[in-house]
Symmetry: C2
Subunit: 436 residues, 2 copies
């Protein structure tokens, strides 16, 4: 298959290979400052403790601005910071004062920004699969004929490939990095929509269920036994190109390994020392507050805690519905020209810094409380009323399946509290479920 | 596998089967008015001419408000209208003055609204596959053990299942409807983000490329020849539960059939008599205008025309960068209480109505112009500069692959104009490519 780049006269130059997102403009022994409060007790190397920060809220509430400001703040504190944007909206270019492309661009001291584009992100995984295929020879040459640069992007690919890229940037699976020097202290992710970011947060936990069924298909059906070994070999060969040999691995080990990786990814998003998400609302607008509350509940359903709420209206007070979350007003002082980040960052209030600094652990209120004596399970579910929550039980009372906000969440019941649901009531933004 | 609904004391009632989205509150012989200008010459039945309308723009620009207003307007004109929202944001409930759930709710005369939730949308397709599997017996009982109500939503599922639902609502594939009475004249889709809506618009065209490769895998490899026939049988049995027998069909016919359906879906989005998309911008904000321009270009890259631009700032003029698109200001006059739609709809300007009415075909400017004498291809690409556009050629000069806005678009060159790219320049928001 012939691939022709355009002539030099052509308007655009093709970059076939993306540069690695870990740029080398940071000195490894540079001005790294540890986070003021690091909750990650076993973070014995920087490579293992890259933190991920994201902002949730209704479109137009200021998510991108808050993300840009947070990135500037972390960088000003000496942390190696990467702002990841994932939308075709050119606004982040204006905010950061530089053209953000698919290769990281330096926007300020300690700060790079990069735009995820799925058309580019799919090239490297495809090449890995193609390379593995030449060894495994599963596709008998068909894959070889697929030109990555010709492939379009289907719905869903954006989420999948950006999740893989975020994993690489944060090393959430704790894999051995190709170059441990190319790491960030903080990655700030500005996704295309709150809905999509929440799906990404909840993906690994949900994928474990699908894995279970797929494994069943592979092990218990004729078609599975016939095809799974070679497909598994292709998958592991593709992933193992970093040097890990899988020759000796049995199918069982491979399945177990995939399961363990999903567990790690899932644990990453529930670890407040690694992952933080914040809400952005307009405190003057009841609609914005309602949306924020709903997204708070949706985040909990997805498996993430919210660590604080930001708003851009000066003089605004914390909307009481968000109690006990910490709230801070962010400075907003730019017009149609460039943004003066030094001024903006120095105008950050102590509250805002304290929320961003990981020193504040958000609500100490547990999201699920079990009471053995009353035989109740109390689920904190802000933003919902009881008619919007559905409960199911499928496994003889060992667990509770909570459906709300277009998400399903499984709650394992402690052994002393297992049983069928006797009733449920809603009070103080919590669903109190009584078990028989 | 045991499934227990909660007891009546439980806060929430489970609806296992979703009602069909085509509600029967409309009389079949009701007050249907034909669109003022119907470009669909062969639209001999209402069932074959449901129109789809969507709004694109940066978050916060007023997409949801414009969608609600358009839906109210179409309904006021006597058209059976369905507003489809796809986000957990409760704002559309406030806008429409009613609780929008996963079953259609009547919001006004001729107007229903429905919220897509993927947790519900995946149940029916899963049941169809399970039913087909009991006949085909591919999974040997494994699928039977999958409880749909336990499945979580993975990234990408939102787009895929909502695309299937939009197909059902608009009948874009022209399939025989189960009940031809349950149809709408207009479906207004308010997606979660412009990026996701654009992926949906471009999906069918892109999927054809993947289909080609998958078919190659199925026909030319050992593993494909071994597995494809039974998988194809499962797929067609699942889709054929509407009564179409596929017993006599060969694999070739099935593959061709899938390809034809993708072609139909793709043609739907390029047919201005069936599908329309509009931009929403804030004409006072340069950032909003820049975003709007970029999304205009992205829409063209995805395969859709933009049919007009709306803004909510009274007194605003059409930003000249959007020329030659028609522009209209929409009335915006609600605070924190309910919206008075009768007032809002009667405040619609003639320009706004004319854009919404399908009487205006947007820019007559062709998106791609071929000039045989000059040997040029002129691609209208608003919102981009030349450094953001990449050109590739892979098939010996028979086509041009344009990469911009994180999308790839293939342009077939007419036989007299085939050749390799000699040069390209950018002028008047267009890329002019000269061929050898």
């Amino acid at each position: 298959m012939e691939g022709m780049r355009c002539s030099p006269a052509c308007s655009a130059v093709v970059t076939h290979r993306r540069r690695s997102l870990g740029d080398d403009f940071f000195s490894r022994r540079g001005r790294l400052r540890q986070m003021k409060v690091s909750a990650s007790a076993n973070a014995n190397s920087v490579a293992d403790s890259t933190k991920l920060v994201t902002f949730l809220g209704k479109g137009g509430s200021g998510r991108s601005t808050a993300a840009a400001l947070a990135a500037q703040y972390y960088a000003s504190e000496g942390l190696r910071t990467c702002l990841v944007v994932h939308s075709q909206d050119p606004t982040p270019n204006f905010l950061m004062g530089c053209e953000i492309g698919t290769s990281p661009v330096t926007c300020n001291k300690n700060l790079v920004a990069v735009r995820l584009e799925t058309t580019k992100l799919l090239l490297e995984p495809l090449n890995q699969v193609k390379k593995a295929d030449t060894r495994v020879n599963l596709s008998q040459g068909v894959l070889e004929g697929v030109v990555g640069e010709e492939l379009g992007v289907l719905p869903g690919m954006d989420s999948i490939f950006s999740a893989l890229e975020i994993e690489k940037l944060t090393n959430s699976l704790g894999r051995k990095r190709k170059d441990p020097g190319q790491t960030y202290d903080v990655v700030v992710y500005d996704g295309t929509s709150t809905e999509e970011t929440l799906r990404m947060i909840g993906a690994a936990e949900r994928a474990r269920w699908y894995l279970k069924h797929i494994r069943n298909m592979a092990e218990k059906t004729d078609i599975g036994r016939l095809t799974a070994p070679s497909v598994l070999k292709l998958i592991t060969e593709s992933m193992g190109s970093s040097g890990v040999s899988i020759d000796g691995k049995t199918s069982t080990e491979i399945w177990d390994n995939i399961e363990q990786n999903l567990q790690k990814a899932s644990a990453f998003f529930t670890d407040p020392s690694r992952f933080r998400s914040f809400l952005v609302v307009d405190p003057r607008s009841q609609l914005s507050i309602s949306s924020g509350l709903r997204y708070w509940g949706c985040a909990i359903q997805a498996g993430a805690r919210i660590s604080g709420v930001f708003g851009f209206s000066s003089g605004a007070k914390v909307p009481e519905q968000f109690s006990p979350l910490a709230f801070a007003v962010l400075p907003y002082s730019f017009g149609e020209s460039t943004v003066e980040w030094d001024k903006m960052v120095s105008a950050l209030s102590d509250e805002a810094k304290s929320i961003l600094d990981w020193s504040q652990f958000g609500s100490a209120q547990p999201l699920v409380r079990f009471d053995g004596s009353k035989r109740t399970v109390t689920l904190f579910m802000p933003g919902f009323d009881k008619s919007q929550i559905k409960l199911f039980q499928y496994r003889g009372g060992t667990e509770l399946l909570v459906e709300a906000g277009d998400q399903r969440r499984v709650i394992q019941l402690p052994s002393g509290l297992q049983g069928k649901v006797a009733g449920a009531k809603f009070e103080n933004a919590s669903l109190v479920v009584t078990l028989r």
